[in-house]
């Protein structure tokens, strides 16, 4: 193989700045999408275990819809198809006038998709806490909302912390799909640097290391949270 290695390229202007900026976008997409996924997913998880049939139905339909369509297809649907169903005015706003149209679409698409997965984890956590705990809460006169707030959720989140960590790492990696609608995040930038410099090996090696460093950091952080929130007498091994 006749390849001119040049690791220095990564630290040269403007490529270093590009990589750092692109990492910033990757993190922005991941965090914003996670906020949507976590809050909507938690709400749907509660719905899915609610005593009200209508709420259970809403959440089930949501999960079946969003979990079963490939994420890439969903991103395309939101970006290319969804605006066509809006009035001209709104359509223009979504396609052009709203802040960062491509980025926003990617955030919403990834967030809504991941919400369906978070929902299922929250549901399994609540189920694991158990029907008897729910009854114990109801028996002292708490409303259903109070039982969720004070009994079911605090215990369910402790149980599902490790899979939720995986889910966040997945969102972080899935954020690379935003490049398909033109968001220059880390993976897209790596390709761009390769095209500018023909130093593909270095660029993708750097991307790999950057992705890994972030995920390791998240894992370490979650392990700390797991330890802090662990209950006495439980043998929490941390998220990994």
């Amino acid at each position: 193989m006749n390849y001119n290695w040049d690791w220095g390229i990564l630290f040269r202007d403007p490529y270093l700045g590009w990589m750092i900026g692109a990492l910033g976008w990757t993190i922005v997409i991941s965090i914003l999408a996670w906020i949507i996924a976590f809050s909507l997913g938690s709400l749907l998880g509660i719905f899915r275990t609610s005593s009200k049939k209508s709420l259970r139905l809403i959440a089930t339909c949501y999960v079946e819809l969003f979990r079963n369509i490939p994420l890439l297809v969903q991103i395309f649907l939101w970006y290319f198809v969804f605006p066509e169903f809006l009035t001209d005015e709104w359509s223009r706003w979504v396609k052009r006038d709203m802040p960062y149209p491509a980025l926003t679409t990617a955030v919403v698409a990834i967030g809504l998709y991941t919400a369906s997965r978070v929902c299922e984890q929250v549901r399994s956590g609540i189920k694991a806490v158990g029907e008897d705990q729910r009854q114990a809460g109801r028996a002292i006169g708490m409303t259903e909302v109070q039982v969720y707030r004070f009994v079911l959720l605090p215990n369910a989140y402790r149980i599902i912390l490790p899979p939720l960590t995986s889910e966040f790492l997945t969102i972080f990696k899935n954020s690379s799909l935003a490049l398909t609608i033109g968001v220059i995040e880390l993976t897209a930038m790596t390709r761009q640097i390769e095209e500018y410099t023909f130093q593909g090996f270095e660029a993708f090696t750097a991307a790999t290391i950057i992705y890994s460093l972030v995920t390791f950091t998240v894992m370490a952080l979650m392990q700390q949270i797991d330890k802090r929130t662990a209950l006495p007498g439980s043998f929490s091994k941390g998220a990994s």
């Binding site: 008897d132 028996a139 006169g141 409303t143 209950l231 006495p232």
Partner: protein
């Protein structure tokens, strides 16, 4: 037996309940007056737990009526949350909230349901812990306590709501033998103080000592409902006799 109407605490009238095709309660009727202690016994699967859980509406019924202190539990317009706050319940597996320490467990219902202030709830919790003899464990978590201690905390949690009646669903059947008595002692004390109690249990010693009446169930039916002297003296049904001979053998 004649009970004055005003003295009636729990009234169960022709209650039926199905789980799918299986009938778990078959035309059950039962009265508990104020201050009475009722023991419900019978073989497993006879519907005892289902019956006791219908009384505070944790389990819905298919037909029949349940009235607690003049308020219908089976009426759809009744605020069940409010109703339940006035009926204490103790579960077979304690069901303390694992993420809260003992004091917080006892305070939760007081602050969130009865809207007591934190200080009031704290004082009440301390007083109750003294009563169940667990003062030194106030800041431990449920997983750090023995089964018997956990169940005593669960009783204190129920009492914190100042209930008009207490329901016990097999309170000692998940306990090691040496811990059964510490829980029964608390219950005996409670009964002697005049608490209205409905207790599902196999502890016939307890029944004999404090129960006013013993209700025997089998296949979802109330087969016998008799004053405890009569029940232990000469139960009328064969099934109850057979049951007694098995549980009283040793």
């Amino acid at each position: 037996m004649n009970y004055e109407k005003s003295n009636m605490m729990i009234k169960v009238k022709s209650v039926n309940k199905w789980y799918g095709k299986i009938q778990v309660l078959n035309d059950c009727s039962l009265n508990v007056s104020k201050g009475e202690v009722i023991v419900v016994c019978g073989p497993s699967g006879s519907g005892k737990s289902s019956l006791i859980k219908t009384i505070n509406g944790l389990e819905p019924v298919n037909s029949g009526e349940i009235i607690v202190s003049g308020i219908s539990v089976t009426d759809k317009s009744t605020n069940l949350d409010q109703m339940r706050s006035k009926i204490g319940m103790v579960f077979q597996n304690f069901e303390l909230f694992p993420h809260m320490n003992v004091t917080e467990n006892i305070k939760l219902g007081q602050t969130k349901v009865l809207r007591r202030t934190n200080e009031e709830a704290e004082q009440k919790a301390q007083a109750l812990l003294e009563r169940v003899d667990l003062t030194e464990h106030a800041h431990k978590y449920p997983s750090q306590l023995s089964g018997g201690q956990q169940q005593r905390v669960a009783i204190a949690r129920g009492l914190a709501m100042e209930p008009m009646a207490m329901l016990f669903d097999e309170p000692t059947s998940a306990l090691d033998p040496e811990m059964i008595n510490e829980v029964l002692d608390v219950m005996v004390k409670l009964a002697k103080e005049g608490m209205t109690m409905m207790v599902v249990t196999h502890e016939m010693g307890f029944a004999r000592k404090v129960a006013d009446r013993v209700v025997f169930m089998d296949y979802g039916k109330i087969i016998e409902d008799a004053p405890s002297q009569d029940f232990f003296g000469s139960p009328r049904s064969d099934r109850a006799q057979e049951f007694l001979s098995k549980v009283l053998n040793h």
